[in-house]
């Protein structure tokens, strides 16, 4: 496969869902898509093009929350990152973990650290945070505040 062919096939197939495409460099492409199309586009990249799923990164950018799903097409050394914007008050998106096992853990992590709901996730338990961490407090949000009164932030001297 050639880079231009892959991109042409991809953009023509999903032209209705693609809001923006940033061809940053030879090896980096950032595509903004609608949240509703993530499962369709994600599974197409994973199964049909044979891209490997790297990881998903979520960022709190008030008034939105942005999620980037990074895929890599290794044969042509191309990293395609799918960008979706969600509403910060009620961030919800369909889960890819029910189709593909590789998305399972990262969706659990994003949901507890940023408060995103992945509908249809087969196992929506906590992944990283302790049991005594209060529900609904998301540490990676910009407005996170220290909730624990027993902490000690001195240097111990």
């Amino acid at each position: 496969m050639i880079r231009e062919e892959v991109l042409l096939d991809f953009t023509s197939r999903f032209h209705a869902d693609i809001l923006d495409l940033e061809d940053k460099s030879n090896t980096r492409v950032y595509v903004t898509i609608t949240p509703e199309s993530i499962v369709r586009i994600g599974t197409y990249l994973f199964r049909n093009i044979g891209a490997r799923f790297n990881i998903a990164t979520a960022t709190d950018l008030p008034p939105k929350i942005e999620i980037l799903y990074h895929f890599i097409v290794e044969d042509i050394n191309l990293l395609i990152s799918l960008r979706v914007f969600l509403d910060r008050e009620k961030p919800e998106i369909e889960s890819l973990a029910k189709e593909i096992e590789a998305f399972n853990w990262i969706e659990r992590e994003m949901s507890e650290l940023l408060g995103i709901t992945f509908t249809g996730h087969p196992d929506p338990r906590r992944l990283l945070l302790a049991d005594n961490w209060p529900e609904g407090v998301c540490p990676l949000r910009q407005d996170y505040e220290e909730w624990d009164e027993t902490v000690d932030r001195t240097r111990g001297i």
Binding site: R52, N54, H70, I72, E101, W105, R126, L129
Partner: protein, 394 residues
């Protein structure tokens, strides 16, 4: 027919990290596994947002002790990808030397641990003794046995002195005969063949579905290595082979790691012998707004860092993804249907670097505890003994 629950962990004396797995067994066969992580979560992504770009390099170095170079390497490449920019050739060579030195001592560490789990304590001691020679080389080159602090966005922080290179080459050459002996002893041992072949198989399709990485996936036939697919550093400057095998069992994972050590020695010697002249630092002043991705091949697979900058001197968002995060879930596929005496060696075959994965902790199960972690290692060694006796002893 009852199902029994066996919790393993959390303070396993040999695997130094706290881990917690709950295995559900019927008789001797594992039918289900549950893992829980979080024992090592230190909130590094949030810490990065409080520190400058250059200081974040030191934080990420301490994500994991054994892959302490892979994280700064991926992070500095991510920051350089924001511009995007390339560093000087001398910097690339020095970065490659440090990264490969780490791969070598990481694989030797794994070899020692695997030997210990199987009851080959001599392998454990020999592998860690060889590892000391490599740690000496790293100390000569960088000043420390671990946590080298050599990386910075734009290049490297310290140079390599030409007068140090001959002794480093001598030390690397000195471990090769013992390494060859260990390789023969392990790969040609019929007891190990009987013990490890067919154990904990991860199929090709499973490796793809889980997006497994590194030796864990190369042992299943997935021919992927970031050093070949998305070249960086000095890896294109010399001939070396990617090691791929087909069966996906624990034996193949050992083969991949052992043979990779020889390729690493090739790369190291080429780099030390052909270090080009030039500057080592591009002196980055301000990071422009934008985003960047850096990914490199750590000893355990691909390490991936994503950095978003808003033009200030601190990252707006820094995402860290270590290889074990993707490899760990494969434990569910490889251990189901296996016996409990194989549980520890199958886990060790993924070479889990828990620190990278923010650790998995095991759920507290209210059930009868049959075996603890020590008992499971004992079971593993007993199985090896039985096979030895059956084959006439050695």
């Amino acid at each position: 027919m009852g199902k029994t629950i066996i919790p393993i962990g959390p303070y396993h004396p040999l695997q130094e990290e706290p881990e917690f797995f709950t295995l559900t067994v019927e008789g001797e066969t594992v039918v289900d596994i549950d893992v829980r992580i979080g024992y090592n979560h230190r909130g590094i992504e949030k810490l990065s947002e409080m520190k400058t770009f250059e200081n974040s390099t030191f934080v990420v170095e301490r994500i994991c002790g054994i892959c302490s170079t892979s994280h700064p390497y991926a992070y500095t490449r991510a920051v350089e990808d924001i511009f995007p920019m390339e560093v000087s050739m001398r910097s690339k060579y020095i970065r490659t030397i440090i990264a490969e030195g780490e791969r070598l001592h990481s694989h030797l560490l794994w070899l020692g641990l695997a030997g210990h789990f199987l009851g080959y304590n001599t392998v454990y001691m020999w592998a860690w003794k060889l590892r000391e020679e490599i740690l000496d080389v790293m100390e000569i080159l960088s000043g420390n046995r671990n946590n080298y602090a050599m990386f910075k966005p734009g290049g490297v922080r310290r140079d390599i002195n030409a007068e140090d290179i001959p002794i480093c080459l001598k030390k690397i050459d000195s471990i090769v005969p013992t390494l060859v002996m260990l390789k023969k002893a392990i790969l040609d041992d019929p007891v190990l063949h009987a013990r490890l072949k067919g154990v904990g198989i991860l199929s090709y399709q499973e490796a793809i579905d889980f997006s497994a990485l590194g030796p864990t996936s190369r042992a299943s036939g997935v021919a992927r290595d970031v050093r070949k697919d998305s070249p960086y550093g000095a890896y294109q400057e010399m001939e070396w082979d990617m090691i791929v095998t087909k069966n996906g069992d624990v034996f193949d994972k050992a083969v991949v790691r052992i043979l990779e050590m020889f390729e690493t020695i090739k790369i190291l010697k080429h780099c030390l012998n052909n270090l080009p002249d030039g500057s080592i630092d591009a002196k980055i002043k301000d990071v422009p707004p934008g985003e960047g991705i850096g990914h490199i091949e750590a000893p355990r697979g691909e390490t991936f860092h994503y950095v978003k900058s808003d033009g200030t001197n601190r990252p707006l968002r820094h995402k860290v993804r270590a290889p074990t995060f993707m490899n760990f879930p494969t434990y569910k596929a490889t251990v189901e249907g296996q016996t409990i005496s194989d549980a520890t060696i199958i886990l060790a075959a993924i070479d889990p670097c828990y620190c990278c994965t923010e650790r998995i902790a095991v759920k507290d199960v209210k059930g009868r505890m049959l075996y603890n972690g020590q008992d499971l290692i004992k079971l593993s060694r007993e199985k090896t003994e039985k096979i030895k006796q059956r084959m006439g002893g050695k």
